[in-house]
Structures are given as C-alpha cells and as structure tokens.
C-alpha cells in the first residue's frame, strides 16, 4: 500500500511531463492527415541530410582528435597531463554557440582574423565549419571515456606484451588501443548525438551560409515560428530526429558495454607511462599549440571582441560595451530570469533525483524502469522534448487527446513550462549524482544510526545524507549551469516578452548587437568556470592508493 503510493507519487510527474509529450509527438506525427507526405517531403530529407552530414563529420573529428589525445595524455609521460586534460575538457562546459561565435570572428570568409591576418582561406559558414565547431565541443565526449578506460588498463597487461616480444609502441597498439577503442567509439556515437541535437551552432553557421545548410533542429525551429500550421511539419522532422538519435544512442550503449573491462587481479593496477624520449619537448609544444588554437583562441577572441569599439574589427579597445550592458535592463532582467529558472531547476532536479535514487536503492527492480524513464529526456534531443511539450500542452492537442479527461494545465506560453522542460531534461543529472553518491555510501552508516535509536528518515538524514554532499552539490551545479546556458529548448518555449540569458545572447549575436553578445558570452564563460571550480571543490578527495 505504502509502496504503491510512493511509486505513484514518483511516477506521475514523470509520466505526465516526460512520457506524455513524447507519446503525443509520436501519435500526432503518425496520425496527422498527411503524415507520410510530410515524412518523405524533400525539404525534410534535405534537413535530415544536413544533420547527418554535419553530425557524422563532428563525430569523426571528435574521434580522430580524442582517441590519439587520450593515448597521449593517458599513456605517455607527457608533462602537465592533468592540466591538458582539464583544458581539453572545457568545451563540455561552455555552450557550443559561444565557440561558434569565436570561430565566426576567426574564420568568417571576409572578416575573420585567420583570413585577414594570416591570409588563409577558411569559411566557417559551411558543413565542414559546422562539423568542426560541433566536433570540438564534443571532443570531451570521446576524450574523457577514453582516458577513463585507459586507467583500467593494468600495467601488467602491457608488461606481459613486452615480455612476449612487443616493443613499446607495438604494445600501445596491441594492448592499450584495443582496450580504449570501444569507449572512444561509444564516445563518438554520443558526439554524433549531441551534434544532431545542437541548435545554436547550425543556426549561426548554417542559415547564413550560401547555399544555406538546413538541419533538423533549425528547420523545426523555423516551422514552430510559423505557428499552428507549421507544427505538423515540425512533428515530422522531430520524428526523424528522434529515430536517428534513438538509433545512435543504442549504438553508443552497446559499444559502451563492450568497453567495460573487469578482471579479477591480485594487486591494484599500476600504470605505465611510455617515455616520449627526445621528442617530448616537440610533442609538448604541439599539444600546447593544439590546445591553444582549439580551445583558448576562440574564447580569447570573444573576450577581445567584447572590448572593441566595432565588433569584428580589432583596433580600438574600449570598455563601453561592458559598461552599457551592465546597466541594460533587458540584460539584467534576462540574468535574473535565467538565474531564477536555473536555481529552481537545480533544486527540483536534485530533490527528485535523490528521491528516485533512494527509492531505487530501497524498492529495487520496478524502479529500474523509472530511472530509465528519468534518464531518457536527457538523452534525446532537446528540440524533440520541447516540441513534445508544446504539442502536449497546447490547446488543440489537449482537446483531441483528452476530451474526456479534463487535464487542464495552462502551461503553454508561461515560464512554468520552461521550468518543467528544464527539470525533465536535467533530471538525469540529479539522478546520476544521487545514485553514484548512494552507491558509494556504506549502508552501515545509516544502520549504525538506526541501532542508535534513529528512525528510518532520521537515519537517512544523519547517517547517509551528510556523505552525499559532494555528489549532490556537483549534480545541482551541473543542472544549474546547463539550465543557465540552455538555448535549444528555450528558443522554442520562451513566452513572448521574456528573455533568458541564452536566448538574449543568441538574439544579440545573430543580428542586433554582436558586441553586446560578446560581453554576455564572456560573463557566461566566467560563470561556467566558477561553477566548475565549485564542483571540483565539493568533490571528495580521492584516497591515495
């Protein structure tokens, strides 16, 4: 009785806000009068093609860069490997459209610095350009799992290969590489997924390209802007996007499972580091150069641009834009609104994640499905989720689907729908943090509290919860940062007359005031860095082994 009530209480919001929108999207997409025609429309195919090409390119770039970099940082005696790792992981935290802004400044065919100052001929407004920017943003998705799987490689495996007659490089090829490959492959699939879900980058770089490069996300956005009669077309596009991403997600998970190596071994794994020998200096310098060009330069150029009189030129320094923005009511309003929304999301996500993780650890199996349900909205493209929410909570569908059940949630065109969307989407972050934390906490801590006379809740609060501080702070911060800079869902769900940090930045960047956008971008990067520092500070110290 009590158990089923608890189950229902945890399940209901998930069903209504996570499952229902997708069900509505799928049902409506397949049952609309001209469903088939819309699905195979040439414009739909053009967008599908654009998404596939740019995402595959991005995945290839992330893989081609991430795997060698992983081997270099994880397996050789390259100095400062921790610092390089942190630097190359940065693109995961900074919104991709800020990098896109940097690359616009660097590689605009006419005014880009690379073209004017270095006389290169690069054009960022192209499929290659989109794939490049998306691929760099997705680099950590390949690099970090590769490094994690290399950490599992026992030095004795490599030493055994040496004794068997393999030289150091041969050993790298025959032992470390095959063990890292599934993780890197799985990461590349996730890179494809995140690129296919991206909206800001293909919009900034694809729409103004000649000829324009259509993608699923940007086409959906354009259709939603048209209002009610664009929704059918948007739904058809979203079905393709959903299908494509589900397929790739399944692939990523398969590869990810294969990559998990676990073997009983006597002593703790040691790590060997391949000596780079005399080439160490050259390799270090190259790594530094690559990190600078790919990660630092595009951000640096945005900072510099925010300090220029005229955006896109690099001659007269001024702090005028910073001064202007810091008094601008619209900017301040957007900051306030975004902060409120992000903090609200953080609180909901952390609380719900904790409740779900706790229920899962206590109630067992049935909650496996719930956890899956909670993780799904984070995996599918934000565009799809947002469109589902629009369809589920707009007047016409509600009447069609629920004429007997008067489910009146007047959420459409309110900020509440944004809160719902962000919370549903980022629930996975809260759940993962709480679950990882709970798994690590020794059960006996709470049991000791029980034996000392605490009831179940008290024991949780006194014995378990204090141990969860680090993971919960990390989950909360991640959810807040992600919500603060969210763009894809915000552009679709933003009520008229409201601004969020992401949407305002985007609006200023795409036409009105690029210099102001650069200022905002700098502020966002600063906030992101602070947040990452907070996560690092809250992380429990690793016990030296």
């Amino acid at each position: 009785m009590k158990r089923s009530a608890l189950t229902a209480a945890l399940l209901a919001p998930l069903v209504i806000f996570a499952l229902l929108p997708l069900a509505v999207l799928v049902v409506r997409g397949l049952r609309s009068p001209d469903a088939w025609g819309l699905l195979v429309d040439p414009a739909t195919f053009a967008a599908l093609r654009g998404t596939t090409i740019t995402s595959a390119g991005a995945a290839a770039i992330a893989f081609g860069l991430g795997l060698p970099l992983g081997l270099l940082l994880g397996r050789t005696d390259l100095p400062w490997s921790r610092a390089w790792r942190a630097l190359f992981a940065l693109p995961a935290a900074v919104p991709p459209f800020i990098f896109a802004m940097g690359w616009q400044l660097l590689a605009n065919p006419r005014t880009g610095l690379l073209n004017t100052a270095l006389h290169l001929h690069v054009d960022i407004y192209s499929s290659t350009g989109i794939a490049f920017v998306l691929g760099l943003s997705a680099l950590p998705l390949v690099l970090l799992p590769t490094l994690a799987s290399l950490e599992q490689v026992d030095a004795a495996w490599e030493e055994a290969a040496r004794l068997a007659g393999a030289g150091p490089w041969r050993t790298l090829r025959d032992v470390a590489l095959p063990l890292a490959l599934p993780a890197a492959g799985s990461g590349a699939a996730l890179a494809f997924l995140s690129s296919a879900s991206a909206f800001g980058v293909p919009y900034l770089l694809g729409v103004t390209a000649s000829p324009p490069i259509p993608t699923l996300t940007t086409r959906i956005w354009a259709q939603v802007l048209l209002g009610a009669h664009g929704l059918d077309q948007a739904g058809a596009l979203a079905l393709w996007l959903l299908g494509l991403s589900t397929l790739v997600l399944a692939l990523a998970q398969r590869l990810g499972k294969r990559g998990r190596v676990s073997l009983a071994s006597g002593k703790g794994a040691r790590r060997t580091r391949l000596p780079l020998g005399p080439s160490r200096v050259a390799v270090s310098a190259t790594t530094g150069l690559v990190a600078f060009v790919l990660v630092v330069l595009p951000l640096l150029v945005v900072v510099v641009a925010s300090l220029q009189k005229n955006f896109g030129t690099f001659d007269a320094f001024t702090t005028a834009h910073w001064a202007r923005l810091s008094h601008d009511t619209r900017t301040l309003g957007a900051f306030g609104q975004s902060a409120l929304l992000a903090l609200g999301t953080g609180v909901i996500v952390t609380g719900a994640g904790l409740a779900l993780a706790w229920a899962r650890s206590r109630l067992g199996q049935p909650f496996g499905a719930v956890a899956w349900l909670a993780a799904w909205p984070y995996a599918i493209p934000g565009t799809v989720l947002a469109l589902g929410l629009i369809l589920a909570f707009s007047l016409d569908t509600r009447v069609v689907l629920f004429d007997s059940v008067a489910l009146v949630l007047a959420l459409m065109n309110t900020s509440w729908l944004l809160l719902v969307a962000f919370s549903v989407r980022h629930l996975a972050l809260g759940l993962r943090a709480a679950r990882d934390g709970l798994e690590r906490v020794d059960r006996s801590l709470a049991e000791a509290a029980r034996l000392s006379g605490a009831n179940r809740l008290r024991a949780f609060l006194d014995g378990t919860l204090p141990q969860l501080r680090g993971p919960l702070v990390a989950g909360f911060t991640l959810a807040v940062l992600a919500s603060l800079t969210e763009l894809t869902m915000a552009t679709l769900l933003l009520p008229p007359g409201t601004d969020l940090l992401g949407t305002l930045l985007f609006e200023l960047m795409s036409y009105a005031d690029p210099a102001g956008a650069a200022v905002l971008a700098c502020a966002v990067v600063a906030v992101v860095l602070l947040g990452q520092a907070a996560i690092a500070a809250a992380a429990p110290r690793k016990v030296a082994s």
């Binding site: 026992d154 004795a156 495996w157 030493e159 055994a160 290969a161 040496r162 004794l163 068997a164 007659g165 393999a166 030289g167 150091p168 041969r170 025959d174 032992v175 095959p178 063990l179 190596v261 676990s262 073997l263 009983a264 071994s265 006597g266 002593k267």
Partner: protein, 342 residues
C-alpha cells in the same frame, strides 16, 4: 635455456634502497626460488631480470650475454624470457588462444606453425578445451594456467614466476605446484620463482635464495636451508622456528628465569636460540606454564610461556598437557647464534 647471473645489483626508489647488492647465479636448467617477507624486494629483483625495471648499478647476464649493466640495457622484448605475473595479466580483449598466440606472432611464426604450438602449449596446461573462451569466463586457476601457457609458448630461455600460486586456494595450489614441477621436469627450462610461502619454495626449488630488506641472507638447497640456516632470520622464516633472545649459562639457555638444558655444549654469553617446534618434547613434570593447546590434526600445538615470551611446540596429544597446568621441556636439537647476528 640459459644461466642467469646477477652481480652486485642495486636498485632504489628515491631515497629508499630496495635492492642492495644482490649477487646470484642460477645454473642453466635449474629452479631458483626467491623467498622473503612482503616488501623485501623480491618482485623488484625479478622485474630487473625481466628488464621491466632499470638497475642503478651492477650487472645482469642471461645465457652469458650481458643484458643489463653499465654498457647495455636490452629491452624486455629482446631478452627471450617468459613471465607469469602475480595478477596473471591475461589480456581481457583476447581469447585464451589469442593470448597464447601473441608471443608467436611477435616471433613472426606463420599461422600453421603457430596453431600447432598453441595447441601444444594449451595441452601442457590442460586447457585445450578452453581455447576460444574469453578470459572473463575463466576461473582464477584457469587464468593462471593461461598465463603459464603464454609464458612458455615462445620457448623462453628463462621462465620468471611472480608469486605463481599466491592467489589460489589450497587445493588448486597443490595441483598447480605439481603441474609446475612436472613441466619443469619435462622442459628443463631455467626457472626463477618469487614467493613468500616457504612450503612452496622448499617443494619446488633446486636452490632457495632467502631475501630480507633487499639483501640475500642465504642461498642454498632446500635441505641445507632447513638443516643449517645461517641466521635466526632464515631459521624463523623457513622452518617456522622459535627465535628467542636470551643467554647461555653453564650449558643451559636462560630466559625469563627459566633454564632449558641445551643438547650440545655452547660457551656462555648472550645469544639467540633457534628452536624448531618439533625439536622439543613436553615432559609431565616441570615449571613452564602451558597457555594453550591447539589440535592441528596430525599433531598438536602447545603454547608455553617463558617469562613473557611465548614458545611453540609440536607433539603428540599428551593427556597430561592441559592448559593451566605446568610442564617440563627437553630439547632434542637447537641452534644457538651470537646475539649481534640478529
């Protein structure tokens, strides 16, 4: 097949001197056990022979050729050795057969030669039926045998074993010990095995090198080591002997107000007495308090109190020797060392 020679080998990590001047010769085709307590530098010594660790000074030769020293460092892949790692180090991304095939691939053998040799090696460790298994689907003992087959398949000059039996349960230990002994008899390969288990060392080896804090204490045949340990440490470690610090006065060992008559004449003075548990006999009358009596199956262990030190004695189940009573003790054999050797 080859002899292995170590000359004044030194190794330190930072300020810690781990191996301090080890000199050792392992004759061609013989089996040497490197025995010592945890952390004494056995693994480090073995890894230096393998070429996985560089020496600070000294030299190592295998089969007459110098592989490490002031003039040379031959990398591990060119030393022609086989090694069984303590953690087995069976590659998780290769099947059993592929693991065993690897040294042959590196030697450049063609496929048909390889297949024959793999079959032979797997047969030697009785794993023919497991050729296509993934390592994660094997038990600890089977993984161990894969590691052994992989180490042997390339016909190494010397086989190195790091605690080959330590992760196995008692029954498997017996089985693999017999298997290693049989393999050695058949192949005649020079073998060097690291262990901290004296029974393992005594059972397998032609020669046992006892190591302590980076120094070799004694190198001898198992029989010699057992019969004539050259220090209390070796006696305590190898025979499980009682090692007692006391004094000899008038032909008796004195400790904590108790006199034990020695079987052989020794001059007076402070000394260390080494007494094997089976070399003492309990008597019904005496003044030594009996603290405990443990039934071990074939024998019974008695714990006597000598002042404030405990003494272990093995013997038949005497009805008179009950905990709480006092008993007497006769020494049938004992060794006395001057005190400073300890």
């Amino acid at each position: 097949m080859a002899a292995v020679t170590l000359e004044a080998v030194h190794k330190s990590y930072g300020k810690n001197h781990i191996v301090r001047g080890v000199s050792l010769t392992v004759a061609d085709g013989s089996f040497l056990s490197l025995l010592g307590p945890s952390g004494c530098g056995k693994t480090t010594t073995l890894r230096m022979i393998a070429g996985l660790e560089r020496l600070d000074s000294g030299r190592i030769a295998i089969g007459g050729g110098e592989v490490d020293g002031p003039a040379a460092h031959v990398p591990p892949e060119r030393r022609g050795l086989g090694m069984v790692f303590q953690s087995y180090a069976v590659w998780p991304h290769r099947t059993v057969a592929e693991n065993v095939a690897y040294p042959l691939e590196r030697q450049g053998l063609n496929r048909s030669e390889r297949d024959a040799r793999i079959r032979e090696a797997l047969a030697q460790v009785r794993l023919e039926a497991f050729a296509d298994r993934q390592p994660h689907a094997l038990s600890g003992g089977q993984l161990q045998r894969v590691a052994l087959a992989r180490a042997l398949v390339g016909r190494p000059k010397v086989l190195l074993l790091d605690e080959p039996l330590s992760n196995l349960d008692a029954a498997l230990k017996e089985e693999l010990r017999a298997e290693i002994a049989a393999l050695r008899a058949r192949l005649g390969t020079t073998m060097i095995a690291v262990t901290h288990d004296q029974a393992e060392a005594l059972a397998l080896a032609d020669q046992v090198a006892v190591m302590r804090a980076g120094v070799l204490e004694q190198v001898a045949t198992p029989q010699a080591l057992y019969a004539e340990p050259n220090s209390p440490f070796v006696a305590g470690f190898v025979g499980g002997a009682n090692v007692l610090d006391g004094e000899v006065r008038g032909g008796a060992f004195v400790l904590g107000g108790v006199r034990l008559e020695l079987p052989t004449a020794v001059g007076d003075g402070p000394c260390t007495l080494v007494l094997r548990p089976e070399d003492a006999v309990l008597e019904p009358t005496g003044t030594l308090p009996l603290a405990a009596r443990l039934f071990l199956g074939a024998t019974t262990e008695y714990r006597l109190q000598l002042g404030d030190v405990a003494l272990r004695v093995l013997g038949p189940p005497h009805p008179f020797a009950q905990p709480g009573t006092t008993v007497g003790l006769t020494l049938r054999a004992a060794r006395v060392f001057p005190r400073e050797l300890r």
